[in-house]
Amino acid sequence: MDILPILSTLRRHKLTAGLLVMQIALTCAIVCNAVFLIGQRLQRMDMPSGVAEHELLQIQVADVVNSGNPYARVQEDLALLRQVPGVQSVAFSNQVPFGGSSSNGNVLLDPNQPQRTLNATTYFGQNLVPTMGVQLVAGRDLRDEDFVDVDTALKGLKTGDTKSLPHVTLITRGMAERLWPGQNPLGRLIYLTPTVGLRVVGVMASLVRPNAYDAATAQYTMVIPLRMGADRGMSYVIRARPQDRTRVLAAALAALRKADSQRIVTTRRSFDEVRRHFFRDDRAMAGILVGVITALLVVTALGIVGLASFWVAQRRRTIGVRRALGATRANILHYFQTENFLLASIGIALGMVLAYGINLFLMRHYELPRLPAIYFPVGAVALWLIGQLAVLGPALRAAAVPPVVATRSV
């Protein structure tokens, strides 16, 4: 196909052609960036938790009146929940993965260092690892004799009696890799304060923070053998088969209510809901972006249809003359297709530059990473396809113009 005649025609429609190119460029740039943003959100929503999410339930209770011994209370509740049919395992935890609210601590490698090495989240509670289905890749789980009551530990912290403090911890592989790259973490010491040293006895494959807002630090997690009493914000975590969960949750709530009719349950949900809730904004954002991209592509396609139809109508006579002079239908069809391809290509080339510029802006103001090169061809192919699809109708209509038009005046 000879593109010179096309170029000379376009030169006579500089402004309209220019506007179309601009539109394609903008669409291309926005689509590249939006697809990238969507990809990021989807990737975030896929963040691994390290726990058996489809088998877990969370029940959070608010104790109405502080009656009796809170430690005994927890043991009673745990025993009660274990007896609920379908319950495989129960844990009591200060926080849950993707739960949002979290307890965090500064981790030091040397008790005297002035700045923290990293900030990690701290899970407390019994039976956490087996119930949540956390995998241990090295070492052992926490044992009963490792556990210390929270109040005893706090008293010990105050008096400086290190005997009453916990001495061991589990950490994730991600955290171990950050602290001691390439080395065996087992048996090493980390410090939460200059006086509280914990020996790493086990390494977990993965256990995500409740506040996993940043993928880079999402796996900085430790489990500390502290026994807690019933208190606000603590959760019972129940493991059951996926198909039993609805029934088990209802039965567990009934059992807890039966033991204390005044008890208030503040949260009851499956871990699927926990994840859904945690990532709701990401899902919403991805939804908005998909909507806008669709609208953009539709609008651009319609614009191409409109302009191409207009050009076809305007050039009916010229087309008739070309046909009379021996051009085939295919020639006419290809003419319009090539014209669109040329305009799209210029638009895409400009769009790439613009996409890069928008990405730079977003990187500066919204802390987004650099747009990977793979997104550029994606945007290009999408726009070439849309352009060709949109121009097909008007081009076919042009090809259908009979040669006899050439002999009619106006």
Binding site: L15, T16, L19, L20, M22, Q23, L26, T27, I30, A34, L37, A62, V64, V65, N66, S101, G105, N106, Q115, R116, V150, D151, L154, K155, L157, K158, L192, T193, R232, Q262, I264, T266, R280, D281, A284, M285, G287, I288, L289, G291, V292, A295, L296, V298, V299, T300, L302, G303, V305, G306, L307, S309, F310, W311, Q314, L362, Y366, E367, V410
Partner: protein, 439 residues
């Protein structure tokens, strides 16, 4: 403009001559305007001034107790105070009005038969909080300084809780069992849920589904052992439980101060610096004074309460609107330039250039009006639908108000008139003789 009806008629006929193209333009504009206004309504709601009449006079003091600023990149101190500092600031009472604020979640035991105890979300504040934030009272009023000092068991209910527990009647003077103790209701406030929730950004992050269900004196909440929400600690408290937290250097209390004149603001700054310096000498604060005293708009801005997502989706929609406009300009241009023959005839018959401008601008304005109306429809659907699918945390904020509707229409018309200006300019410059000859 005596030819106005005539131009309207001309435009109407011209638009109907190519209904497909006209529809295309209307739909395009509608899309762009609809998407833009929907995201804008969310953005606007999220970034709005929660208390416009007062925000310039409300200040949030921040102090850097554990040199946290030295560890963070932006050098910002925490957005909450420790119990010790909050109580000291309350005691010194240097602002016109002030209140320490922290969220509580007490259990309420309704008297009425058939109602179960429930945990409700409320706030521990001082009596000055109510006039400070212009709280809308339905019945009664807030408590006084004597109640604050005595940690009196008094409570101000939100409308929703008063409806639930007392059936919506004037409950002032009645008593309510909260956490196993009787509280006297002194006031009932109307639904109050300003967004962003400026009175407690530390806990809420800025946005709340529901307003506080009740308020009680700060001193009373402390005495009743009503624990707080979020806590930020550098070191674990050295004693267990809520009392331990109060002795610790953990931050968990938001503080609001009303300062009416620049002189008062300046005096308060000096006071804060002096306080921080004294605490440093006493060995409590780990670094030199690093305080902030921002008014509400500046504070909300510094806290970045408006989520980046909201801004990005608005920007993306703005991009969509731009593409739609370019699209419409292209289509209008094509349409108008095709009519040079008609223009030539009109010019030859004595029509002034301004008349041609007027005609074409009216025509593009009509497209804009129709597109705006369509966009209005889409905005309505968008604002309604955004709650179901998109950004649930903020969606509740998006409201269709009259101003938004007017703005939608105005944006559409303005954009198309702008879009029609160049084609009109080109069309009006057509030489009549040349045009007539060429046909």
């Amino acid at each position: 403009m005596r030819h106005f009806p005539y131009y309207l008629q001309l435009a109407w006929r011209s638009l109907w001559r190519s209904p497909g193209l006209t529809m295309l333009m209307v739909v395009t504009i509608g899309f762009g305007v609809g998407a833009c206004m929907t995201t804008w309504s969310v953005f606007q709601a999220a970034s709005g001034d929660p208390i416009p009449d007062k925000s310039a006079r409300l200040f949030v003091p921040q102090m850097d107790i554990w040199r946290s600023a030295a560890r963070s990149a932006d050098g910002e101190p925490l957005d909450a105070l420790t119990y010790t500092d909050a109580v000291a600031l309350m005691r010194d009472h240097r602002a016109v009005r002030q209140s320490a604020v922290y969220p509580i979640a007490p259990s309420v035991f309704p008297d009425r038969a058939g109602q179960h105890p429930a945990t409700v979300g409320g706030y521990a504040v001082s009596g000055e909080f109510f006039p400070m934030v212009d709280m809308p009272f339905l019945y009664g009023q807030g408590w006084n300084a004597a109640d604050d000092a005595a940690a009196a068991p008094v409570v101000v209910l939100g409308r929703a809780l008063n409806d639930k527990v007392f059936g919506g009647v004037n409950s002032v003077g009645r008593s309510l069992d909260i956490g196993g103790r009787d509280y006297r209701v002194v006031g009932v406030v109307d639904d109050w849920n300003p967004q962003p929730a400026f009175y407690d950004v530390f806990d809420t992050g800025g946005y709340t589904h529901e307003g506080p269900a009740l308020f009680m004196p700060f001193t009373r909440a402390i005495a009743a052992n009503l624990a707080n929400g979020r806590t930020a600690c550098d070191l674990e408290p050295s004693a267990p439980g809520f009392p331990g937290l109060q002795q610790s250097d953990c931050a968990w209390i938001t503080y609001l101060a009303e300062l009416d004149t620049p002189a008062q603001v300046q005096a308060y700054r000096v006071y804060l610096d002096a306080y921080a310096a004294a605490q440093r000498r006493a060995g409590r604060f780990l670094g030199p004074p690093n305080n902030r005293l921002r008014d509400l708009p500046a504070f909300l801005d510094a806290e970045r309460v408006v989520p980046g997502d909201t801004r990005v989706s608005f920007l993306v929609a703005l991009g969509l609107l731009l593409v739609c406009l370019i699209n419409t300009v292209g289509l209008l241009l094509a349409k108008f330039l095709r009519r040079s023959g008609e223009i030539g005839v009109r010019r030859a018959l004595g029509a002034a250039r301004s008349a041609i401008y007027a005609q074409f601008i009216i025509e593009s304005a009509m497209v804009g009006l129709a597109g705006g109306a369509f966009g209005l429809l889409l905005t309505g659907l968008g604002v309604l639908g955004i709650g179901a699918v998109l950004q649930p945390r903020l969606a509740a904020l998006a409201r269709l108000d009259g101003r938004l509707l007017l703005a939608t229409l105005a944006v559409a018309v303005l954009c198309t008139v702008l879009a029609g200006l160049y084609p009109s300019f080109r069309a009006a410059r057509v030489q009549p003789a040349w045009q007539l000859k060429s046909d």
